[in-house]
């Protein structure tokens, strides 16, 4: 080959020697998942070897030449019990081990940094708390637990970072979440792995893992001026949310400061933890999540705010730890006529308009 075309030869050598066989481990969970993976590979190889060895040796020992007359063996309860119980035991070990990892991957720690990711045909939009937006890329620092809150605007997508060994579907109409802690700076693949239509294979991007300092620098450089919560505040004001959610004694809506993470009593009985998913639901389907002591008068905002808008609002409410800001927005918003009961028919009218 060498004398035919050195270039081709070089190319072939390079090509054949430089393909990866195992993905990089760039998150805290990756080595743990790989430990389980290699345990299973080991079990599989041993199992396969046993089967192949047995088949081969039986074939050699009992081929017709060597063993012209078969000896009928009915079966053996002991042997059969052995190969029922041993695989079962091994599978159960894998089950427990796997379930531990599964629960870890999908249970974000409380102090994690939350990045919102919106999937749509065919791109990923990431929103950092500081208001930085990215499309088809995700910048994250090492050494911090990062939670992704995912949602899709249209069809199922799946946010996959092989180097982190994590993956989660972005579902229309509902938040899902996953977390990871990057360990090694570098650039890694980001894939959409759930088939989502024509350009599914172009819904890819990169995950850039930076040192905390580098990340800070990147944040400063790519800021859009307003943080996510500030955007939410603007939206909060322009939608006149403060007309009801104003923490006054006669307020028609519950006060929102410190509501995030609190256990709320519901009008329908029971309590609920106000997480991101709950906040989103109460904006879009408010009547089904009425807090105890309040009338179901809040109109739905379904179809009026984009998913990004909802995210901004959620982030604003999450970061609200005093009512002061709301009082401020009140001053900048024209107050609706405060008469009691006006909101009921109004919501109905809105519905009519929509028809």
């Amino acid at each position: 080959m060498n004398h035919i075309s050195p270039t081709l030869w070089q190319f072939l050598v390079k090509w054949m020697t430089s393909f990866p066989l195992f993905p990089p481990e760039a998150s805290k969970i990756a080595p743990e998942m790989d430990a389980l993976f290699f345990f299973m590979v080991l079990v599989s190889v041993i199992g396969l070897t046993i089967v192949v060895l047995l088949v081969t040796s039986f074939c050699l020992l009992y081929s017709k030449e060597r063993h012209p007359v078969a000896v009928q063996v009915e079966g053996s309860t002991l042997l059969e019990a052995t190969w029922t119980i041993i695989p079962l035991g091994l599978f159960l070990v894998m089950f427990v081990w796997g379930a531990l990892i599964y629960f870890r991957v999908y249970t974000p720690p409380a102090n994690s940094m939350n990045i919102y990711v919106v999937g749509k045909q065919w791109m990923w939009k990431a929103e950092h708390p500081g208001g930085q937006h990215e499309i088809n890329s995700l910048h994250v620092p090492t050494g911090r637990a990062i939670q992704l809150t995912l949602i899709s605007q249209d069809v199922f997508h799946s946010f996959s970072i092989p180097a982190f060994r994590v993956k989660r579907e972005a579902i229309p109409g509902r938040y899902t979440s996953v977390w990871f802690e990057p360990t090694v700076p570098g650039t890694y693949h980001l894939f959409c792995t759930q088939y989502c239509g024509t350009n599914h294979s172009q819904m890819i991007g990169e995950v850039v893992v930076m040192t905390p300092d580098g990340y800070k620098k990147w944040l400063d450089e790519s800021t859009s001026g307003a943080s996510l919560a500030q955007n939410g505040e603007r939206l909060f004001a322009s939608l006149s949310c403060a007309a009801c959610h104003n923490a006054r004694p006669d307020a028609r809506g519950p006060a929102l400061a410190n509501v995030y993470g609190a256990k709320l009593p519901l009008a329908s009985g029971g309590t609920v933890t106000a997480d991101e998913a709950y906040l989103r639901e109460s904006i879009l389907n408010p009547s089904q999540h009425v807090t105890q002591g309040y009338a179901p008068i809040m109109p739905t905002y379904q179809g009026q705010i984009s998913e990004e808008g909802v995210i901004a609002l959620v982030e604003y409410i999450k970061n609200l730890n005093s009512e002061y800001r709301i009082q401020q927005t009140l001053n900048t918003t024209e107050l609706l006529p405060g008469s009691e009961g006006a909101a009921g028919p109004k919501s109905a009218e809105q519905g009519k308009v929509k028809q």
Partner: protein
């Protein structure tokens, strides 16, 4: 290879019996209106092969496109249509009916000593439904195709594509009824048509496996049918059962879809397992090791198969606790398969093994199915599933089970019963070569995909990052070899129809009732209703029979 069990009649005097189910009547109509299970099996065999080669050609296109990292052979939406049609055709029009509709149809009445399936007209109807569905699928492909993937995921299939979802859905719906009727027919036949003396525990394991698969067909298929109906209604008039903007839950569709489609993989593999039980016993001259365990493991797979469907949805936002339950049950369903593998292995122990073509395919099956099954555990384990699902790992896994398992078993079965079906043998050497080529080609094609999947290459990608190219090239090269491996049998089996050696009643010296009648069998299968007076796989009984025959012919 001097040692062989093949015993053919004296070729100079042997003749194909003048009266048999093929020669009984002539003309196309006598085939198209037949109620004979054997003729319907032949019709299925021909039409299945047709669809297999269409599906195979589409697979070839997929592999060619993936030769390079860019989407250069075809546009991405063409690629999407190609893999969708590959999936639809291979699953609903090849794998699900493959062994049951051909070998099962042909052999179940013969094996249990019946004259026909219980409902011959329903049997014919199910072939017509199959053809109608298949032609509709081909028509769909010709008129623009469909690009939802074979899983019809909502809301993609209901609101976001404008291709022929409805006609494809209808094709799958019709094929589903074909499958229901086949399964129903088998269940009724196995329950009600067994010949005198044929108790449940004298049934060949092939019949047990089909019994288990039929339960799944009858109980699982209607659920996917209603899911497809709802998708169609959602697309046409816009009802809101799965539509998130109207308050529906798209995951509910997945629940209903996988409630069928997970048991469907057992519908695909169980009959194959039945074939393997027959071949491995015949070619090692031994009763299957632990007959009862193998029989019950088939039924166990069928029953547990209904409890594990949500393991396809581990990362889709179903409840973590449901994941726990479904993952545990998945581990349980893996055990019966392990039992089977070891029981087959120990069937070889102290046997008298020969290596004819069906046996080579059987060995291929055992190796590949073991890998396929074990990698399934990787995916059933919730933790590793997060990383491996929706990548080429899962593609490799189910191809190891479906192609490496089911197709190998299908070919083993076709080679094993070919002499019974046609009365003629195929050339042994070239068929052994084909078995070896298939095995090598298969491993070349699909083993690299495990590595690709571990690396994270997503499935259903028309283009991919360049560092994955080498493994993809291996895979495509392997696919070429595999293609040759599949074409060869078509050639020599066709050749054998006219030039093959006369097989006689029982070329393999097998014990099943189907081998105790002429090849090809009579339309009514047996000259008189047989009576089963020996155990299944009773080779001593067979030897005694032969002695008797020798004495009678000498006397």
């Amino acid at each position: 290879m001097s040692a062989t069990i093949v015993s053919l009649p004296d070729q100079s005097t042997a003749r194909i019996p003048k009266v048999n189910f093929i020669t009984k009547e002539n003309g196309l109509l006598s085939w198209l209106l037949t109620g004979d299970h054997k003729r319907i099996a032949i019709l299925y065999l021909i039409s299945l092969s047709f669809f297999f080669f269409i599906g195979g050609a589409l697979a070839g296109l997929i592999r060619l496109e993936l030769l390079t990292p860019q989407a250069d052979l075809m546009a991405t939406d063409t690629y999407n249509k190609v893999f969708t049609m590959h999936g639809v055709i291979m699953i609903f029009f090849f794998l699900v009916p493959s062994v049951p509709a051909t070998l099962g149809n042909f052999l179940i009445p013969l094996m249990i000593g019946a004259k026909d399936l219980a409902l011959p007209k329903i049997n014919l109807l199910s072939w017509y439904l199959y053809i109608a569905g298949g032609l509709l699928a081909i028509y769909t492909m010709a008129t623009g195709g469909v690009d939802t993937g074979w899983t019809f995921t909502t809301p993609l299939s209901t609101h976001y594509v404008n291709t022929n979802v409805l006609t494809t859905g209808l094709a799958v719906f019709i094929a589903g009824f074909s499958s229901i009727f086949t399964g129903l027919n088998f269940l009724v036949t196995i329950h009600k048509m067994r010949c005198p003396g044929m108790t449940w525990f004298k049934l060949p394991l092939f019949v047990w496996a089909h019994y288990a698969a039929s339960i799944l067909m009858v109980l699982g298929t209607p659920v996917v049918a209603i899911a497809i109906v709802l998708v169609a209604l959602e697309r046409t008039i816009g009802i809101g059962v799965f539509d998130p903007t109207k308050g529906g839950d798209p995951i509910l569709f997945q629940h209903l879809f996988w409630f069928y489609s997970h048991p469907a993989v057992y519908i695909m593999i169980l009959p194959g397992m039945g074939v393997i039980s027959e071949t491995i016993s015949t070619f090692s001259r031994k009763r299957v090791f632990g007959y009862t365990a193998v029989a019950f493991s088939s039924v166990a797979i069928a029953v547990f198969g209904f409890f594990v469907w949500a393991h396809h949805m581990f990362i889709m936002g179903i409840s973590n606790y449901a994941v726990l339950v479904f993952s545990l049950l998945t581990m349980l369903v893996a055990v019966p398969s392990a039992i089977k593998i070891f029981n087959w292995t120990f069937t070889l122990y102290k046997g008298s093994i020969t290596f004819e073509t069906p046996m080579l395919y059987t060995f291929g099956f055992m190796g590949l199915f073991t890998i396929g099954g074990l990698t399934g555990v990787f995916l059933g384990t919730s933790g590793t599933d997060i990383h491996l699902t929706e990548t080429y790992f899962i593609v490799a896994h189910f191809h190891f089970v479906m192609v490496g398992g089911m197709l190998m078993a299908f070919l083993a079965g076709i080679h094993f019963w070919w002499p019974k079906m046609t009365g003629r043998m195929y050339p042994e050497k070239i068929s052994q070569l084909a078995a070896v080529i298939t095995f090598i080609g298969f491993n070349f094609t699909f083993f690299p995909q495990f590595i690709l999947g571990t690396l994270g290459m997503p499935r259903r990608y028309a283009s991919y990052p360049p560092e994955f190219q080498v493994l993809n090239v291996f895979s495509t090269a392997g696919a070429t070899i595999l293609g040759v491996g599949y074409l060869l049998p078509v050639l020599y089996l066709t050749w054998s129809l006219k030039y093959g050696a006369i097989a006689g009643n029982n070329p393999w010296q097998a014990t099943g009732l189907e081998w105790q009648t002429q090849s090809p069998p009579l339309t009514e299968n047996f000259t008189s209703t047989p009576i089963m007076d020996h155990e299944a796989y009773d080779y001593d009984w067979l030897d005694k029979q032969k002695e008797k025959e020798v004495t009678t012919s000498v006397g």
